[in-house]
Point group: C2
Chain length 278, copies 2
């Protein structure tokens, strides 16, 4: 087990350093993760251990209610947002973890500011929420496909930073994971979806349209990560070409966030011996 | 009708000028409103005219859906938040105006950041919402009665500014009215509540506790108005010792906001003669 990197090492290797975020680019960012986990076997062992720890930490957090955790999960099609969530929380009770997927906004949602629907889903104290896609879609797909005037999109980076700051200053930690997959690996996975009968349902012709816009999406991600990797809610880029390494890295980061909240079971405020059950 | 002040004059007389807000104090602020409306008769005539205009403007706003209006109504007990809302919208259909009163937060609400419950009630395009008490309670009663650590309260002014900026930049105008009543007039009104049988239900012994904290509340208002009268959402201090003048002044300001949105009925996109109803 000596080949499992420390949580600090994983954090450092994946962090988009806020002070240097302006010069960040996905181009120079790892998609493989084999510097952190040389072998898949190590990755799997690490994930197993972390998923057990995450369960225990969540239990304590739910009991002591000292804060809440929001995991923002972003990444292009096939990067594994569902899979990562499933694996990191494989031992955690669904009672304390809620996952919300943000797809195309409804008419009701579009009639409000774009953060309105997200704010309704932020976790209350004691809870972990995972956003599968998030406020960042409003500066990603919306930007690439021109779904809002550029001037409005331009204002959103600061608005998102202020929104996340509000959450952080009020007891919600925000962990932002960008699952970073290479264009070659995405090609593989889309082919797999077409060829493997039991994966065919996942295939969506729209994915191919988005794949044609690969460079535009990468550029939109670059801008989002440059402008929204803040001291209160920095971005982490998780290498996602290997499923097992990706899951292991994400689990280390989630465990790290939970440990930083130092959840402990609260003193019940009475001694059990006070009571007699007749 | 020549004695009705222009909307611009009312706006200017009540505005907490953002650039000079730092030196603002309620101490120097008018509670009477007789410089704007010399006679109550003028005030009543102005209100009647504005209430009719507000109805028409709301209709057009609902049809064209070019934006939305949030009226934040603040003021200490007996200052007339309910009455002002009722009078300004006396001719407006409740379909397009929703009023939300924010009292003591529920457990569910307390488990989220304090802006969570407010964000859920912001108006969608085409609508007018009135907040009877608002996000500002979290820097007023919460501050005066020490319901949250001072360090957290201190962060809220900037958080509120960012939240309101988000709304404004996404199509919601924010009109903030502080109903400014004198301590003498509040005394009158509380006595009235005790003495007049049909007003007795409104009396709440807690109001007297708050009255003892008069100076602390005034100071908390000063700070809120100093720090949150912004270019995108400035504060207006409405003299509230005279009910008719207060209502007339508030209605002028609400009408002004709606006119600034320039709501016009949209072109239906077809000529009625295209259709034949058999």
């Amino acid at each position: 087990m000596s080949d499992i990197p420390s949580i600090d090492a994983v954090r450092e290797a994946t962090l988009v350093e806020p002070k240097k975020a302006k010069s960040f680019s996905l181009k120079g960012s790892d998609t493989r993760g084999d510097k952190l986990f040389e072998s898949k076997k190590d990755a799997k062992a690490s994930l197993e251990e972390d998923a057990l720890a995450i369960n225990e930490l969540q239990d304590a957090l739910f009991a002591c209610k000292t804060g809440s955790l929001l995991v923002v999960m972003q990444g292009i099609d096939t990067s594994g947002k569902d899979g990562t969530t499933k694996e990191a929380f494989r031992y955690t009770s669904p009672l304390g973890v809620n996952v919300f997927a943000f797809g195309k906004p409804t008419e009701e949602e579009l009639a409000h500011d774009y953060l309105w629907r997200l704010h309704q889903r932020t976790p209350k104290t004691g809870y972990i929420h995972v956003f599968n896609r998030s406020q960042y879609e409003d500066v990603l797909v919306v930007k690439v496909r021109n779904l809002a005037p550029p001037k409005l999109v331009e204002q959103r980076y600061e608005q998102i930073n202020a929104f996340e700051k509000l959450l952080c200053e009020n007891g919600t930690r925000v962990l932002k994971l960008m699952l970073n997959i290479s264009k070659e690996e995405q090609g593989e996975r889309l082919r797999e979806r077409l060829e493997v009968p039991e994966k065919r349902w996942k295939f969506n012709p729209g994915d191919l349209e988005d794949r044609k816009l690969w460079d535009q999406y990468q550029a939109a991600y670059d801008t989002a990560l440059q402008r929204c990797s803040t001291a209160h809610a920095p971005w982490h880029v998780v290498p996602a070409d290997s499923r097992s390494r990706r899951d292991a890295i994400a689990a280390r980061l989630i465990r790290g966030e939970l440990e930083a909240m130092k959840p402990v079971y609260p003193d019940p405020g009475y001694r059990p011996e006070q009571y007699e059950i007749g």
